[in-house]
Symmetry: C2
């Protein structure tokens, strides 16, 4: 609110975004609106697992575009450390189909390991290429004071780290985190009044895929919902993938970032591993991706992630990103994947 | 979908509304969209406890008004019987503040009992007046084949029923239910194409109150969020309370219906008990309220309730309500309260 120069009175609605079952408090919007002083304005909860605040942004945009409200706060948060790590693992698994899949051991890393195996088999992607993603994101986390992990790692560190779900090792996975991020959305009139450096929502995409893996396929080397959401967002923004100056993509696991490169059109299908290997997603290369540390190293407090991606893009598009500033950044893309890939929100921002 | 004459392909987004923590399946939108054949369209979950689908309707309306979509399904559901009744009681209590209130025994009936005591003390409302609400709603449930309870009860039955949280007895409380209801929203163009009897959304209101009871008061005889949401909805629809031909109000407990009469302006402040006593909310009286059985007797599958209220109003406004038809009904109001009164959605429909 300080950054956007708005007060609680001026915020006409708040949208609270989080994945459920992590904390004892049900229906957190009730508490959050009270603590933030946002009563009696409308508030409620939105949930699309890891894509919760990406969806929240879409709803906030609609509230403003439809004329219901002028200024909306999208509050993403998660407090995962109230549960033990075994409990988190179980709760997360239940984001898959609880009838036919999660009872048989499909925890979150297991789901994504399956995608990794499929991608490796189909395109020859290697464990070293996966490791390169973790190395990049940990490198940039050292430049982000808000990142959870603050030490550089090497490809060897990743390869030698503890196996979680083959081929994904400790450093191929994001960690359980606590955190929060907030986006203030405003109508054009309000935005022009409160700031000289507004950032505009140019494109929105939201799509779904079937929950059950058996209803997807035949291969598991791409997320259909990402492809569809990206297509919508590019269309609405009237841009092409090559026009994106900086991207925040959902790297819950290293394999996810590689698949995202392809699903978002940053490289040809099957070339995602190569893009990582060649360092083409570092600052100054083809397309800088997750140069705030990403989910892998900045942290992944589930409901906060989509809003945190937007925060990074806003800083970049305003030219306030310091050491990691992309020169002349005008177009940013946020890709926010939910659960085991059944929801995806893509947002394109412009200066 | 059959009723609205639309197919799954034509539904451009689905909004799944439910309260959380009742079933093993997290993030139900993923499963529901898959089972209904609504992939790859956008889908996600919305939660405002008992007001979830009232909020879902507002979001769907915004998606259409903002031009994002033409046709949206708002799916409300709840499956409460997977848990034991003790577990339901605990989960429900956690819809209050878990730091300062629910650990001290504030289950859902206890919260509303406090409002009942306050209303009785302030306005002289009696247990017999509360009972009259239950008698009316059970009477109308016998005329609704979809209602959970199908037997008439008397004031004496209510007064003699088991004490739950003084002064609320068994028949003053709704029961744990399983159920679902779905609203198909469409743009004006689509609506005119698929039906000769469209029902229009004329007014929307959504407001919040602080979660903690200590942050409300000084009295507990009204729900501020109801008053604020109603004011917004009446303003947008440009009508007054006396213009409403039929109302669906949130009677999770008998006292709630009485307070709602006052909060919605159907009678003067403090006269709600009298309105019930005089039978002024029966069909053919001042203002017919919950003549489908209400939450008390139709059932209250939490996330489905708001959508079910809309279903009743749509039937009435189309003149399809049979034995309980309000003659010449043109304006209907749905009042959907969330949790312990921290969210309220009011919707006004017109022919």
């Amino acid at each position: 609110m300080e950054d956007a120069q708005v007060t609680t009175n001026e915020i006409q609605a708040s949208i609270v975004c989080s994945a459920t079952h992590y904390d004892k408090q049900r229906t957190p919007a009730g508490v959050i609106a009270e603590y933030l002083g946002l009563n009696p304005q409308p508030t409620f909860n939105v949930e699309a697992v890891c894509a919760s605040s990406g969806v929240g942004l879409r709803i906030g945009w609609s509230f403003i575009s439809s004329g219901l409200h002028d200024t909306v706060a999208v509050v993403g948060f998660q407090k995962m450390t109230e549960l033990s790590s075994a409990e988190v693992q179980e709760v997360m698994g239940r984001s898959g189909d609880v009838m036919w899949e999660s009872p048989f051991g499909t925890t979150m890393p297991a789901y994504f390991a399956l995608y990794a195996k499929s991608h490796m088999q189909k395109y020859g992607t290697t464990e070293e290429q996966l490791a390169k993603v973790a190395v990049k994101n940990h490198f940039y986390a050292t430049k982000n004071p808000k990142a959870m992990f603050q030490e550089e790692i090497t490809v060897e560190d990743v390869l030698k780290s503890r196996m979680i779900a083959s081929p994904l090792k400790r450093y191929d996975c994001c960690a359980n985190s606590d955190g929060a991020a907030c986006i203030i959305l405003a109508s054009e009139d309000v935005a022009r009044k409160v700031t000289d450096t507004p950032v505009w929502v140019a494109g929105l995409g939201l799509a779904s895929s079937p929950m059950a893996l058996t209803s997807r396929g035949p291969s598991y080397a791409s997320f259909d919902c990402s492809v569809n959401a990206a297509k919508q967002a590019y269309g609405m923004a009237r841009i092409k993938p090559k026009d994106v100056d900086i991207a925040e993509v959902h790297d819950c696991f290293t394999i996810t970032e590689i698949i995202n490169y392809e699903d978002l059109g940053f490289c040809e299908r099957g070339r995602g591993g190569k893009l990582a290997e060649e360092g083409q997603t570092y600052l100054g290369s083809k397309i800088p991706v997750n140069i705030d540390g990403g989910l892998l190293a900045k942290g992944h407090p589930v409901g906060a992630t989509g809003a945190s991606q937007i925060r990074t893009l806003v800083k970049q598009l305003r030219g306030e990103a310091g050491e990691t500033q992309v020169n002349g950044a005008e177009i940013g893309l946020a890709h926010n994947l939910g659960g085991i890939g059944m929801y995806c929100a893509v947002t394109i921002l412009k200066t």
